[in-house]
């Protein structure tokens, strides 16, 4: 069971933020294309960084607390998932705050003199 430690932390992050999508209607998973595209740059850049750090010995993972599934570059499966899970949780938190407080993010259809509905 100890080998599932890291995986369990990630599962906790996803389960802990799931109510935001279900009850606050954050609509992150409901917009899968935007969700995955938003996560992609961070995933690529931080995975690259992680591969470099692992290769240079900046940090290492306890094989007794990870599943042992290694991706190319000796990247633990959990690390790759981390770079998907954490950005996703950040978006969920961001949309939850917007849903509750109603503050603008800058992507609303009506802001900054935008002409809604195709009016010229």
């Amino acid at each position: 069971m100890a080998r599932l430690t890291y995986l369990a932390v990630l599962a906790g992050c996803l389960l802990g933020t799931l109510p935001l999508e279900l009850w606050l209607r954050t609509r992150v998973y409901a917009r899968p294309r935007r969700w995955l595209l938003a996560v992609a740059p961070a995933f690529v850049l931080f995975t690259t960084w992680d591969l470099y750090a692992i290769a240079r010995g900046h940090w290492w993972y306890d094989p007794r607390q990870t599943t042992g599934v290694l991706l190319p570059g000796r990247l633990p499966l959990e690390e790759a998932l981390f770079f998907l899970v954490v950005p996703t949780c950040a978006i969920l938190a961001f949309e939850a705050v917007r849903a509750v407080l109603g503050w603008p993010a800058g992507d609303e259809p009506d802001v900054e003199g935008d002409c809604a509905g195709g009016a010229r």
Binding site: Y6, V9, L37, A42, V86, A90, R98, P109, G117
Partner: protein, 145 residues
């Protein structure tokens, strides 16, 4: 490069992404900082578990030394960079859904509300539409696109 140098670089790059590259300017919004504060709280918890239980260990030679909830202080910059880059990209993608020069974009976050408003605008014949039609210059959307 050390973890310290890379973390600083990442944080600066994330700020540049938000201000210059994607021009989302989230760093000037209270929505961003409120969400970041919440994420930071949970980051300290998960970092505390991962570093505290030694799921991940760090080479002392590549970090400054001070730790916060068992994790190197550099993790603060690491997390800030990841959250900022992600949220900036998210908002930028949402902007793509806004109508640009009257063209409704498909498959976007707000497309449904945009379409609804466009339909409402078409249904109500405003003076502009009426006069354009009278002068015979009314061009239907389908013919121009």
């Amino acid at each position: 490069m050390t973890y310290t140098q890379l973390a600083l670089l990442a944080a600066v790059a994330a700020v540049l992404a938000d201000t210059v590259l994607l021009r989302t300017r989230l760093l000037g919004r209270r929505l961003f900082w409120t969400a970041y504060a919440i994420v930071l709280g949970f980051q300290l918890v998960t970092d505390g578990i991962l570093a505290g239980r030694h799921v991940v260990s760090y080479d002392p030679a590549v970090i400054l030394g001070p730790r916060l909830c068992f994790a190197p202080v550099e993790d603060l910059l690491f997390g800030f960079a990841m959250v900022t880059l992600t949220l900036s990209t998210w908002v930028r993608l949402g902007r793509r859904g806004r109508p640009v020069r009257g063209r409704p974009v498909r498959n976007a976050g707000h497309s449904r509300s945009v379409r609804r408003r466009a339909a409402a605008a078409r249904a109500r014949p405003g003076p502009t539409t009426a006069s354009r039609r009278a002068s015979g210059t009314d061009t239907r959307r389908s013919s121009t696109r």
